[in-house]
């Protein structure tokens, strides 16, 4: 079983968070394995099994039962790292050297797509699909 955590925190402006991966639908279609989505109420459901608003303890237990996980740059990648469970993080405008963990597979398309100032509110950054790696690249790493 694979856990996916598809969305970063909702922005105060309701704009799409620029850290959100744009190709989930295509990626999920390529994965031949049970998938559980985790997130919060209001987020778009991508698979049948969507577990919303789970506590830290519940998420930690769930992480222990999965083969691996895929997440954007959100709190989930930190929680899974805290649980010593290796997974795949899909990076866009934020810098995996600063906000990531080397124990994970950090997929960044190109450092030229990182925003210059990593420490401002994400409301100031536009979402751009071209910042992210394509699904077939993710799939290669998912087999590891």
């Amino acid at each position: 079983m694979i856990i996916i955590a598809p969305y970063a925190q909702q922005l105060r402006t309701n704009k799409e968070n620029p850290k959100n991966y744009p190709y989930w639908k295509e990626l999920i279609a390529m994965i031949d394995e049970p998938i559980i989505q985790v997130g919060i109420e209001g987020e778009k459901q991508l698979v049948d099994d969507f577990r919303k608003n789970r506590s830290m303890e519940e998420l930690s237990s769930l992480i222990q039962t999965c083969r691996t996980w895929i997440s954007v740059d959100s709190f989930f990648q930190h929680l899974a790292w805290d649980q010593n469970k290796k997974g795949v993080v899909l990076w866009g405008p934020s810098d995996p050297i600063i906000f990531g963990h080397p124990e994970n597979i950090n997929l960044l398309k190109d450092r030229s797509h990182l925003v210059k100032n990593q420490f401002l509110w994400w409301e100031a950054t536009e979402h751009q699909n071209e910042r992210f790696v394509k699904p077939h690249i993710v799939l290669e790493y998912l087999k590891e």
């Binding site: 709190f75 930190h78 805290d82 050297i97 600063i98 990531g100």
Partner: protein
């Protein structure tokens, strides 16, 4: 050679003590690398029209001292000092607009600087008040029970825990508390004690005399609202109450809390204020604001921005707290 910024915060003293202060700065035996005058007056006046200031500006140019007259935000002198603190210099010599340094003051402050020193102060004399300071400890515990050691002649170098009024300090390593009111009561005590708590030596040294021509008119603390003083005093007392703790304020995201969880066990005697008690138990952020007034000195994102950080979040937390 380390670069020194001279910072003067002024209000209501265009035509009284400020010209004396500027003249004294221009005639230092060691000149600062830049002078910034932060003008906090309610009614700004262009001093380029005034003859005596025209001479000052020409003297600065002739002596090769870059200078700037900057209109301040009218939020109080602590905001001004924080701008100076983050201006990119190694040291800041803060000079009050009614504190006239003798010509060798900066030279004799600067010569005591080294990598272990956080701030250096000299005598700040306010005639006719000349208390006997020979037995003064300069410790924070005695702040309410003894005169300030800088109020008398300093005969030999001494390590203390706080300074007041005008002094030379290491820039960019500790923040001014911007939660204080416009009065900024105790701002320099909190600031220099903060440097001390970070492990830097705070020194008072001889032969660096400043004459404090205390003027009831004008001044950067020209406020009479007793509530503001009381509020600042409360923040000061709360800060002192935590002096044997490492204050941890996590006003940041859930993921940041998870990363910090791995650093917390390394922190000596922490007192924690947290957004996510399910990850890191502690007092609330509202309590932290009420307690300390301002939380910027613990804002890990502002710190990383200021440090132009390229390393991991984990390392940034370590730099801030360990």
């Amino acid at each position: 050679m380390d670069k020194v910024l001279c910072s003067v915060a002024t209000r209501g003293r265009y035509f009284t003590t400020l010209p004396l202060v500027l003249n004294a700065i221009i005639n230092q035996t060691k000149l600062p690398d830049k002078l910034i005058i932060f003008d906090d007056n309610d009614d700004f006046q262009d001093m380029r029209k005034e003859m005596i200031y025209q001479y000052f500006f020409q003297m600065l140019d002739i002596k090769g001292i870059p200078w700037e007259w900057r209109v301040a935000e009218k939020k109080g002198q602590h905001h001004i000092h924080q701008h100076a603190n983050l201006a990119g210099y190694d040291w800041v010599w803060r000079v009050d607009d009614d504190a006239v340094p003798e010509p060798n003051a900066l030279y004799n402050l600067f010569r005591w600087t080294n990598t272990n020193v956080g701030a250096v102060g000299g005598s700040i004399l306010t005639p006719p008040y000349m208390p006997d300071t020979s037995q003064v400890t300069g410790t924070i515990d005695n702040i309410n029970s003894e005169p300030n050691i800088q109020w008398g002649f300093i005969k030999r170098k001494k390590e203390v825990e706080h300074l007041h009024c005008s002094f030379l300090y290491r820039a960019g390593v500790h923040d001014y508390n911007l939660g204080l009111s416009r009065v900024a009561h105790r701002e320099e005590t909190l600031f220099t004690y903060g440097l001390y708590q970070k492990g830097y030596k705070i020194l008072v040294v001889p032969d660096a005399v400043t004459w404090h021509m205390k003027n009831p008119q004008g001044g950067i603390r020209a406020e009479t609202n007793a509530d503001l003083y009381a509020r600042d005093e409360r923040i000061f007392n709360n800060t002192l109450a935590c002096r044997n703790n490492t204050v941890v304020v996590l006003n940041c995201g859930r993921g940041d809390h998870i990363v910090f969880k791995h650093i917390l066990p390394l922190i000596k005697n922490p007192i924690v204020f947290s957004c996510y008690p399910d990850i890191i138990p502690g007092n609330t952020i509202a309590e932290a604001i009420n307690f300390f007034g301002d939380l910027d000195q613990w804002n890990i994102y502002k710190k990383m921005d200021h440090w132009k950080w390229k390393d991991s979040l984990d390392s940034a937390f370590r730099k801030l707290y360990l």
